[in-house]
């Protein structure tokens, strides 16, 4: 059973639904019309362009182009992660780029080679879509992780320095903060996994089922992607923090005060 096609006309009928929030916003003076319509418009344009782009990407299915596009996605994710955090981009860009790339590529290849067992491991359909899911879902965790780590040390600097004076090595001193930040970063993913399937069907499952897949197959993909997200999030959060340590701490073991944007 194939996914039922939606014609352009039919799709425009979904836009008609927007009349409801527009009416509500004007009646209750919510002042949301502008931002909401702008968001919808932006999303529609971006997705439309991506749709065309992906069509050709899948058509060509060239391994090198696929990898290059994945790398572009990683770059955008990295800039987004650092930009949303209070850490200055310049300082941490390279280490974060390396850790995101490593986490994503390693997990993706593992999935493509051993789990899905693709003939073409750089196949566009799997590489781009799964890669996108890994990046998108681990992004928030990474923002939280790196932000929480450095901010908590800055806030708690007296205790951190006190630990150093009690004989702690830099590693021993920052370990409690690392522990807290990684736990915080992974909380949403772990919580989502706990109620998955009971509360709502996750996006990927919905997509595969609508695409004609048998629910049994859909859940296999969902389990696979959730575990992959968990693992790639923890790898990237840890690697992000560990690889940025050198640029964010002085040789005295103190936190540099020029790494924050505010």
């Amino acid at each position: 059973m194939e996914t039922i096609d939606i014609s352009i006309f039919s799709l425009s009928l979904v836009f008609l639904l927007l009349i409801i929030p527009v009416l509500m916003s004007s009646v209750y003076k919510l002042n949301m019309i502008k931002s909401m319509l702008f968001s919808v418009a932006r999303m529609s344009v971006q997705l439309f362009l991506i749709g065309i782009f992906l069509k050709y990407l899948f058509l060509w299915n060239n391994a090198l182009i696929n990898i290059a596009w994945l790398f572009v996605m990683i770059l955008v994710a990295v800039f987004s992660a650092i930009g949303s955090s209070s850490i200055k981009t310049g300082k941490v860009l390279l280490p974060v780029l390396i850790s995101f790339s490593a986490a994503t590529f390693i997990i993706l290849l593992y999935l493509n080679i051993f789990v899905i067992r693709l003939d073409r491991i750089f196949d566009a359909r799997y590489l781009i879509v799964l890669g996108g899911m890994l990046l998108g879902n681990s992004l928030r965790g990474n923002i939280v992780g790196i932000e929480s780590f450095y901010k908590s040390i800055r806030k708690d600097s007296k205790r951190y320095l006190y630990s150093l004076s009690l004989g702690a090595s830099q590693h021993e001193a920052y370990l409690p903060y690392l522990r807290e930040s990684v736990q915080l970063a992974l909380k949403p993913t772990i919580a989502a996994m706990a109620t998955m399937g009971i509360v709502a069907l996750p996006g990927m499952m919905t997509g595969t089922i609508l695409g004609g897949a048998d629910p049994q197959l859909a859940i296999k993909y969902q389990i696979m992607i959730m575990i992959a997200i968990l693992v790639s999030t923890i790898i990237s959060v840890l690697l992000n923090i560990v690889m940025t340590l050198k640029v964010c701490f002085t040789k005295y073991g103190t936190l540099r005060n020029d790494i924050f944007t505010k």
Partner: protein, 212 residues
Amino acid sequence: MIKFDKISLSFDGKEIFSGLDLEIGAGEKVVLSGRSGIGKSSLFGLVLGFVVPDSGSVFFEGVRVDEKSVWDLRRKVSYIDQDVSAGYGKVSDWLSFVWDFKANQGLDFGSERIFGLMDLFGMKHDLLDKSVSELSGGERQRIAIIVSQLLNRKVYLLDEVTSALDKVLKPKVVAFFMENPDWTVISVSHDPVWLESGNAKVFDLEAMEWKL
């Protein structure tokens, strides 16, 4: 033991020290006096390498304090400050945390020793099971002092360590530090009990000179 050699330090555009020269010999008991905000705590930061001077050097046991020597220095110098920040968990957890540091392997953190020190400072043993946040300021100060004893250090940088102690404990703690001949002590305090100690050498940071 500790030498400040022509130290200049500014913070946020404000000048804290300009060409400070100060030398403290082994076994000396020095009390730093001067109004708040004059930089007393910064001196400790300079010794421990938490603060780097704009110019000048700090020497500890003849060795210049730099990013290599600080790590060894921090195992010899005990820093206790009034806002003493032991961890968030139970007192016993904090003690385990400190004992677990590689540098502290081999030190005696046994319950006998800890209880003995707690007795000395008038603390009930069951305080070990309390959460650090439940302790009073005075109790936290005494825990910090106890930790410094467990670490067997000989050089002490004390920042208002008697501020939350009562009339009985205050002179006891002052005597504890000031009357030990093997220790080098630098104490920052507004409390006259420190200044009145017989061994105290007072350095006035406002006038930048030793008071006789």
